[in-house]
Symmetry: C2
Subunit: 378 residues, 2 copies
């Protein structure tokens, strides 16, 4: 018998009660019974985003929300500063280019994060920049960016700050209104504990105002249209109803646990993973590790893709490998969303077993002992 | 106790086995266990679209598929003939305009369908037109358009034929390859018996070739990117996994029943609805009624919105009202997707009860007798 465990940075595991909510009979989204659900979902999203402003709900992946956000507040020809320190950071620049903006693409060494001072310099060099686009947690490298400090810089200028929080929202502290972040986008299949298929755009008053003047080509992702429909408590096109029913349930669970507690849980679980792998002699890849996903160098002498393959095929534990230039070079273990301390310990136990089978030399049990220690100490 | 019945032209009812498939544990879309599911889904979609070519799967509503299709084969400045005979037909022209094309917007009187000869004239008047966009079943009016005859005209020219079959695919006969239709788009929440959240674009070889030269601004809906990823049996962005698991199940059910049988079932059920309402003295709104949805004039003296409201609030039966200029003037009853003869009879029974309560005069039982007759005769 096999129980499957998903320790990937998205899609993540869906709680059974959320899956059950998703499987409820379909109700019509233009019927009055949908209204209170939509309202509760709005309130729950505002809590998760830590904003008082409305949150746009899209039927799309997180990339769709990035497109909706950027094309929704910028126009062709606009100068946009895009920070690229990984596969997902590059997406901002690609979207800007696809819609005729003028992206200033700032490459950041993979594994490191952009510094607020550098953002300041970039804004001084480009005083006409309309937006700064960053990635909260760069899922491909596990790096966390200091959104609060960057928001402090950007909010003093005319540029809007757009944050890709697709993998981080609900896992890492992010206080949108308090920190003065203009736009935050996320997807459903991460800390929100849902299947993929929903994406979200939260925005500041400044961003709402800017959206009225934006002229990028858009139809399905027209931010203006979504904002207008939000006033009528609806969406311009048919929403992904079953996923919204599931979202209602997951937001209820998030509210019950409390956002601060959830952030602390993610910190604890990822600390245990980090302690565990380091006690096995493995090295963490990123300089600024997030609590979303732990990137780990594949030890010398071990075939890079063998670890995730064996974990998955033999033990039912799915972790992620490296992407793009990191393919075969790192593994990534996430305890994101619906994950408990025993999912973290199972991850380390499974890793020890597989590393042993692959011939890696280490003190058996050292990893899980170090992981447990994180949970045992106050 | 109340059992709820959804007799709307989308979203439609989801079979319990499909809902159960949707609630399965999430598997990772980049893991090998997803591959056979993706392959089976491709095969099933090719069957439903009646095409040998690959079918693009999007996480979006049907409107997203329309955008993906049109922007995927046309470029800014391109002349595009858009046939507008209802709320959804207008969408083609709106998308064309939003992306800088030059739409020739041909208004067709609501309730009627465009004639193939008129398409021929339009193409003669506009020999440089790059595409003709039509609506198979215009959900807002219930009108069916003769796709086969129009394809016969368009396929002899250089223009591509794009068909919005969002509400019709799987309910009405549509043989894409045989009829030489270039692009067909649909959504999940209609005859495919799924929740909303997935959309599809099927395309001819001609359309695939044209897609390589198209230059509209696009990123999430980049048709080129989806086609390229289809070769690797994947999607460029995270797919809506739970809905694809559900789709696998619904396609299995569709294959088992057989497309011809499903078309015949939809014809039979809508004939029963039409016979029932006409026996009650009500009039059908559209001149060319589809089997997707039956649009019915609200009888004089009855408040237009009272019928759907009472049906839903008192009896748990949801039908649709009129949209846009038809708001309050018609009601629309659909037996679309997961619907049996007893859903049709329940619809007529409920309608009789509610019409009686609203003071409409008719021979009690005449409607259901006429509906039953459709099922009783060979």
């Amino acid at each position: 018998m096999e129980k499957r465990l998903l320790l990937t940075p998205g899609p993540t595991m869906v709680p059974p009660e959320v899956a059950a909510a998703e499987a409820q009979p379909i109700i019509h989204h233009r019927a009055p019974e949908f209204d209170p659900i939509f309202m509760r979902v709005q309130e729950g999203l505002q809590y998760v985003f830590q904003t008082k402003n409305p949150v746009v709900i899209l039927a799309s992946s997180g990339t769709g929300a990035m497109e909706c956000a950027l094309t929704g507040v910028c126009s062709p020809g606009d100068k946009v500063i895009c920070i690229e320190g990984g596969k997902f950071g590059e997406r901002w620049g690609e979207i800007a280019k696809a819609f005729g903006m003028n992206p200033i693409r700032e490459a950041v060494e993979w594994g490191t994060s952009v510094q607020p001072d550098r953002i300041k310099e970039l804004l001084e060099e480009n005083p006409d920049a309309k937006a700064v686009c960053i990635t909260h947690c760069e899922t491909s490298t596990g790096v966390l960016t200091d959104v609060k400090a960057i928001a402090d810089v950007v909010s003093k200028t005319d540029a809007l700050l757009l944050v890709d929080a697709v993998s981080s929202l609900g896992a890492e502290e992010l206080r949108m209104d308090e920190w003065k972040v203009d736009m935050v986008v996320t997807g459903s299949q991460k800390a929100l504990m849902l299947p993929p298929g929903l994406a979200f755009v939260a925005l500041s008053q400044r961003a709402i105002e800017r959206s009225q003047k934006a002229t990028c080509a858009s139809y399905y992702f027209s931010l203006k249209k979504y904002l207008k429909n939000l006033e009528k408590k609806t969406t311009p096109y048919t929403p992904a109803i079953s996923l919204i029913l599931a979202l209602e349930k997951s937001l209820e669970m998030i509210k019950k646990e409390g956002l601060e507690n959830i952030w602390a849980r993610h910190a604890k679980l990822s600390s245990a993973i980090q302690a565990g792998v380091q006690a096995l002699g493995l090295k963490i890849y990123s300089q600024v590790a997030s609590h979303v996903v732990t990137p780990i160098w594949v030890p010398e002498g071990i075939e890079g893709k063998a670890i995730p393959k064996k974990l998955r095929d033999k033990y039912g534990v799915t972790i992620a490998g490296g992407q793009a230039q990191l393919e075969g070079k790192i593994i990534r273990i996430a305890t994101l969303g619906y994950a408990t301390l025993f999912d973290a310990t199972t991850g380390i136990c499974a890793l020890e077993i597989v590393l042993k089978e692959l011939g890696y030399k280490f003190e058996e049990g050292a990893g899980i002992r170090a992981a447990l220690k994180v949970f045992m100490e106050k």
